[in-house]
Symmetry: C2
Subunit: 368 residues, 2 copies
C-alpha cells in the first residue's frame, strides 16, 4: 500500500523486491528454468509500483494485466512495452474480468494488488485456475475466505505467497537470524503494532469512501494486522512449532475519523455522519506454548507516525525493541553492559542470508 | 521502593517530597494549624528515605517509629533525634506491635512503608484507630483487603493517601494539566507499563525470598500496577467521571527468574526449583466510557530498563508518548508540523501548578 516513506525507505526498497524475487524463484522452480510469466491483477498505485519492480527482474515476464480502470491498465501496458518491448494482454471488462486473465495459458502466476476486500476471492480463483499467487496484504477479510484460500491452495498444489514486506525489513531479518542461532533463548512475549494516521486515505475527493474507508466504517477490530503480526509470527515460529490458540480484543471509542471528516467535508456531509468504528484496537493473542502477543492497530487517530510499525520481543537471554529512532537490542553475555545497543552493532555477525543475497539488487528498485 | 536512579532522578526527587508535603497539608487541615505528628511504620530502605524527606518539612513531626528490625528502628530514632532533637517512641515487639503505635495520642497520621503484603491490613487498622494514612504502593494485595480499606476509610472519615510518586512526575503533571485545559479533546486510549528487571530484589543473599520474591512466586498476574496505572487513572478521570468496568489479562511463560536463580544459586538450590510464575503480564482494561487501557508488567525478564515506567495517551486532538529518550507530544493546531515534540516545549505554558509550588522545596530532598 502507498505509505509515506520515512527512515525505512532503504529497508523497504529491498524488502518488496526480495519478496517479488523470492516468489519468482519459487514459482520458477515449480515450472522449470524458464522466466516466470506474471499476470498483474490491479495496477493502481501499489500495483504499478510492484509492476515496475517486477520489470527490473530478468526472471519475470509480464504477459497480462487486468484493471477495471482503463487509464491504469493502459499505463501498465505502456510500462511493460517500454521496459521489455512486449505487449501484455489487457483485461478491463468489469470486476470479474480477472477470471478471463486466469484462463490464459501464457500466465504462470498472478500478482494481486486490488482493494483488500477482493484479495481472498481472487487468490482462491487464481489457485484453482492453476496459477501461482503473490497477493498483497491482507490475504482475506472473512474467516470463510481464509478457509477457502487454504482449501484452494491444498487442492491446487500451487504456491501461495503473501507479500508481507515488513517481514523482510533488515532489522527484522537480523532478529530472525539471531533467534534461529539461539541468542534469544526461550521466547516469552512479543508486542507489535501498526499505528499510523491514515485518515486521508479513507476518502475520495468528493467524500465518498475508498476501500480503506469502507473497512474503517464496517469493522471495529484490527482489519490490517499483517505488517505488525507478520514478523512476530516468523520470530515465534507460528505454524512452525507453535500456533495461535486464543485472542481477546478491545476497541476504543471512535473520535478521530469523525473529527477529520468534519474538518474536511463539514458536519452535515453524509460521510461525516456515518457510524464510524473504534479508533484504536488492541488484541492479546496467546500461543499453544503460552507466549503472549500484544497487537495494536490504529489508523484513525490524530498523531504523528514516526515508524508506523513497531516491535518488542522478549526472550530468556535477549530483549529487542524497535519503536523510535534506532532498533535496539540487548543480549545477555554479548552486550557489554545492561543497556540497549543498536541492532546494527550485530549486523556484521547476524545479517540474514536473505538480506545479503538481495540487498544489492533491491537497491536498484523503487519503494515497495 | 528502591530503584536504580536514571534520568528521572530530578523528577522523582520532587515527586515523593510533593506527595509527603501534600499529605501533611491535607492532614494538617483536618487537625488544625499545628504540625502533623507522624508515626512511621516500617523504616527499612524505603521507609528511611521517606523519613529523611519528612524531617525536611517543618509541618511534620515524627513522634513514633515501628519496625520489627531493631537496627532499622534505632537508625530511624537516631535520624529524628539528630534532625529535630526529639526522641520518638520505638516499637519493635513483633509483627503486630504497630497496633500499639496506633493507640498513641501523639500520633495524628502514619506512614506505612512495610512489605507490600502488609499495607492493606495496617492501613485499615490505622484508619480505624483514628489515624490519617499515607501508604506506600500497592494499597493492598487482595480484593477483600481493598474492600476493607474502603470501608475503614468511610467509617473513620480519616484521610487515606496512596504514595504513588509517578503521578507527580513533571511530564505526567504537564499532561494532566493539558487534559484539564482541553488540549487532548476526547480521550480514547492509553498504554502504560512497569517493565524493569528486578530479579536481584527477589532474593536475600542465602537464596531465601524477599517480600517481592514471595509475590513473584505466588502471583502470575500484575502485582505492581500503580506506577503505571496511577498517572493514566488521573488522566482519564477514573472515579471522577469514568470508571474501570472490565479487564482481561494474559501472562507469558516463566523463564527469567529460574534462569537468574540457576546462575546465582545453582540448579539444585530449593529456590531455583520453585514453580515461578509468568514473566510478562499484559492486561486490557475497559472503562465505562469505552476507553481502552493497555497495562503491562514485567519484573522478571532479562533486559535493560531505561525508563522503567512508560506511557502512551491518545486523544482526539493530541497524542503523547513517553517511552525512551524524551517524553513526546503532538498537539493538533499547536505543533507546527505532524511530528513529535519534547513535552518540555510546553512546560512554560502548561506546567502543573503542583509542580510550580513544590519544585524548589523538592529539590532539597533525596530520591523518593
Amino acid at each position: 500500500m502507498s505509505e509515506t516513506v520515512t527512515r525505512r525507505e532503504a529497508l523497504k526498497l529491498g524488502a518488496a523486491a526480495g519478496v517479488l524475487a523470492g516468489a519468482a524463484r519459487r514459482a520458477a522452480a515449480a515450472t522449470g528454468p524458464k522466466p516466470i510469466r506474471f499476470g498483474f491483477i490491479g495496477v493502481g498505485g501499489r500495483g504499478t509500483g510492484l509492476l515496475q519492480q517486477a520489470l527490473a527482474h530478468e526472471g519475470v515476464e509480464v504477459t497480462a494485466i487486468c484493471d477495471i480502470n482503463e487509464a491504469h491498465l493502459n499505463r501498465g501496458i505502456d510500462l511493460v512495452r517500454k521496459a521489455r518491448g512486449n505487449e501484455p494482454a489487457g483485461h478491463s471488462a468489469g470486476p470479474t474480468d480477472y477470471r478471463r486473465l486466469l484462463t490464459r495459458d501464457d500466465v504462470d502466476a498472478v500478482l494481486i494488488a486490488t482493494p483488500m476486500q477482493l484479495h481472498g476471492r481472487m487468490a482462491a480463483d487464481s489457485l484453482r485456475a492453476g496459477k501461482h499467487v503473490l497477493s498483497e496484504v491482507a490475504a482475506a477479510v472473512t474467516v470463510d475466505e481464509c478457509l477457502d484460500l487454504v482449501r484452494a491452495q491444498k487442492e491446487s498444489g500451487r504456491t501461495y505467497m503473501l507479500a508481507e514486506n515488513v517481514c523482510y525489513y533488515r532489522a527484522n531479518l537480523i532478529v530472525l537470524n539471531m533467534i534461529e542461532q539461539g541468542l534469544f533463548g526461550e521466547l516469552t512475549y512479543a508486542e507489535c503494532g501498526y499505528v499510523h494516521d491514515c485518515r486521508s486515505l479513507l476518502f475520495n475527493g468528493d467524500g465518498s469512501l475508498t476501500w480503506r474507508g469502507e473497512l474503517a466504517r464496517q469493522e471495529s477490530g484490527n482489519w490490517y494486522p499483517t505488517h505488525s503480526l507478520g514478523p512476530v509470527a516468523q520470530w515465534l515460529g507460528i505454524n512452525r512449532g507453535d500456533r495461535l490458540v486464543s485472542l481477546v480484543s478491545r476497541s476504543s471509542p471512535a473520535v478521530g475519523v469523525k473529527d477529520y471528516a468534519t474538518k474536511r467535508f463539514g458536519a452535515d456531509h453524509p460521510t461525516t455522519k456515518l457510524p464510524w468504528r473504534g479508533d484504536s484496537n488492541t488484541s492479546l493473542l496467546s500461543t499453544e506454548r503460552g507466549r503472549v502477543i500484544e497487537l495494536r492497530f490504529d489508523t484513525s487517530s490524530a498523531r504523528p507516525h514516526p515508524t508506523t510499525t513497531y516491535f518488542t520481543l522478549q526472550g530468556a537471554t535477549a530483549s529487542y525493541h524497535d519503536r523510535e529512532a534506532v532498533p535496539s537490542i540487548w543480549v545477555d553475555g554479548k552486550s557489554k553492559e545492561v543497556a540497549w545497543q543498536s541492532i546494527n552493532d550485530y549486523a556484521a555477525e547476524y545479517e540474514h542470508p536473505l538480506w545479503k543475497r538481495w540487498a544489492e539488487e533491491a537497491s536498484k528498485t523503487g519503494h515497495g
